[in-house]
Subunit: 355 residues, 2 copies
DNA sequence: TTGAAAGCGCTAACAC
DNA sequence: GTGTTAGCGCTTTCAA
């Protein structure tokens, strides 16, 4: 009778219920309540009578055990940290949804951290997640610097990287095969007779940007085409970058017939610039963008894109993380690259015989 | 001497550091370390020497205090629950970003929950957040049933609703003025001579859908137009719904000249259907959608939309929540409705004199 | 079939 | 200036 008595409807500061309150009211011990609520009634041969009462009262009082206290005791929080560069980027939003759902199904909650592509912020958030005793982490690091991420490999909790990764880090990763994706885009250009293609790059140093760039270069070389370095521009995955760099690029609009945009945000910015300058797509310039979204089919023109298998990526990340948490000492998967695919629409014009 | 020595048992990974370890190594008490790390060195007149050492060693060992333990002790977790129906919906993704950032700046982390517009899931997630001792919650409830949400009003922690709300619930809310938004859309139709306008509705029972519907109806009435109930269709905010209902609607395509879509996802689905049926926008049918996104300007045709002030909504929600947490007993804001605005583009055709 | 007690890592009260 | 002690709410030996 210490803190309970009346817990009825006014919103004043009722101290939250505890397992003790329930125990007291029932005249049993906290231990018993704990066991029942943890589903270990049978295991401890607690009488059906007692068990029923506990469950009954807990439900009636709307009591749920304090997960924080449990976490402290068990040294396990059933919480996963999710660190991504920008939740408002549809690619990451889709990933977050998938991952959140998959993890929830296995009893884990997720703490969402948005680094805004800022390295200092990322470091801070990593510490934060760490201090919150997450049982594991899924991170898409900014991707330009590995040192602080490398520390994670030493931590006693599993970590998996997604989208952005460092392949030399002993931390498993899951990503699209960005190299392949870029080549698919380039092949589409070549088929349609293009041979001078500009590249609107994403964040320098990040694995996706670098791999896509590598694919871009190699595709060109394999077709005996020279890569014109001045046609490679930009340094961020956002709309702004696409807009600005396209404006700049357009000063040399006779030097290329196609643009390969490393994200659909970039492509969107590019489209704005193109329109402002009166350049028609695809009549004057063709365009292919990374990242598929259904609504891209309603663009003018419908955008040809490289689709990433977002759901498979999410599922795979979750699977790896769960398995690492289950058996922490098993050998780690090195890295998994999932194939992209070309979605042909109308933003590439045929301008000559295939090259 | 209590827990050391046994360190080499059978744990492959090293046990996480604690405040005690730091204290021991420095020959001071845990209290001192705690105080220094909590920035209370001055307050307790701890010698600069000692303070420096503590900070130094903590940094060197990469130690961060266990936030779980602290949370248990302080009965405050610095964690906020964010419950939304679908993080992959750009509106909510934008909101999440804004809220996450704003809260982070004040030292709070967020646990992200995606209810997938499912009532049972929502209930479960609410319990979960509760059990995790969040200091407050921001929720966009599914919105069709208030009972379980009503319970939250009784909880000793602040809650604020966003987007979806129940106005009779004694829980503060922040949302766009959906009624106004719908009227803005309708006025735009009227100005261009439309008088028969179909409505692609969002989730029935949810505040946004109902308010927008109310605006739709009132606008019609105010212009002396009758509302044709059979022109009001659909029951979800997603793309699917937009597609299917438009297909159905098209059987009566002579009965209307414009479509008011309650979300841009719905509009996207509608566009697909329209295209499949060979109906041109805006020549044959005009279209206005709720929810603005920059890329909508690249649609064919560029979409006329109703823009919600997402950032202001996010900022306001955060402000209210923070202030409630600061002084829980102050009178609560009832509810705040922020004005929407019309973004005129090209999806509405002039078909006659203004009505 | 059930309980008492110890302790997870931290901090606030109260010493000295 | 710094340390000792108690306890946040829970689970888990160990005991009965």
């Amino acid at each position: 009778m210490q803190k309970s008595t009346a817990d009825s409807s006014h919103k004043t500061k009722t101290a939250p219920l505890t397992i003790k309150d329930i125990a007291q009211e029932l005249g049993v011990s906290a231990t018993t309540v704990s066991r029942v609520l943890a589903g270990k009634a049978k295991e401890h041969r607690i009488s059906d009578e007692t068990a029923k009462q506990v469950i009954e009262l807990s439900k009636r009082k709307n009591f749920t055990p304090n997960a924080i206290a449990r976490g402290l005791r068990l040294l396990k929080t059933h919480t996963i940290g999710l660190l991504i560069p920008d939740i408002s980027n549809p690619f990451f939003a889709g990933l977050a949804r998938n991952v959140t759902e998959g993890l929830h199904r296995h009893g884990y909650s997720i703490i969402l951290c948005d680094s805004q592509d800022d390295l200092a912020m990322e470091r801070q958030l990593l510490d934060l997640l760490w201090s919150r005793q997450v049982d594991g982490m899924i991170i898409a690091p900014v991707g330009q610097q590995a040192s602080h991420v490398a520390d994670l490999a030493r931590m006693p909790k599993p970590v998996v990287m997604v989208d952005r990764f460092f392949s030399d880090l002993k931390i498993p990763y899951v990503s699209s095969d960005n190299f392949l994706g870029a080549k698919q885009a380039m092949e589409c250009f070549f088929e349609n007779g293009h041979r001078k293609i500009a590249c609107l790059k994403g964040l320098s140093g990040s694995a996706p940007a670098e791999e896509r760039l590598r694919g871009y270069r190699q595709a060109l070389s394999q077709h005996g085409l020279e890569v014109d370095e001045s046609l490679i521009r930009g340094d961020a995955f956002g709309e702004q970058s696409g807009y600005v760099e396209t404006k700049l690029l357009l000063k040399r609009r006779r030097d290329f017939t196609g643009i390969f945009a490393m994200s659909n945000l970039i492509a969107s910015g590019a489209l704005t610039a193109l329109e402002e300058e009166g350049v028609r797509v695809p009549e004057d310039i063709s365009l292919i963008a990374f990242d598929e979204q259904p609504y891209l089919s309603h663009f003018n023109p419908p955008l040809t894109t490289i689709a990433q298998p977002v759901e498979r990526i999410g599922d795979t990340v979750v699977k790896i993380l769960l398995s690492q948490m289950k058996s922490p000492d098993q050998p780690q998967t090195e890295g998994i690259l999932l194939p992209t695919s070309l979605v042909r629409r109308k933003s590439v014009a045929r301008i000559g015989p295939a090259v």
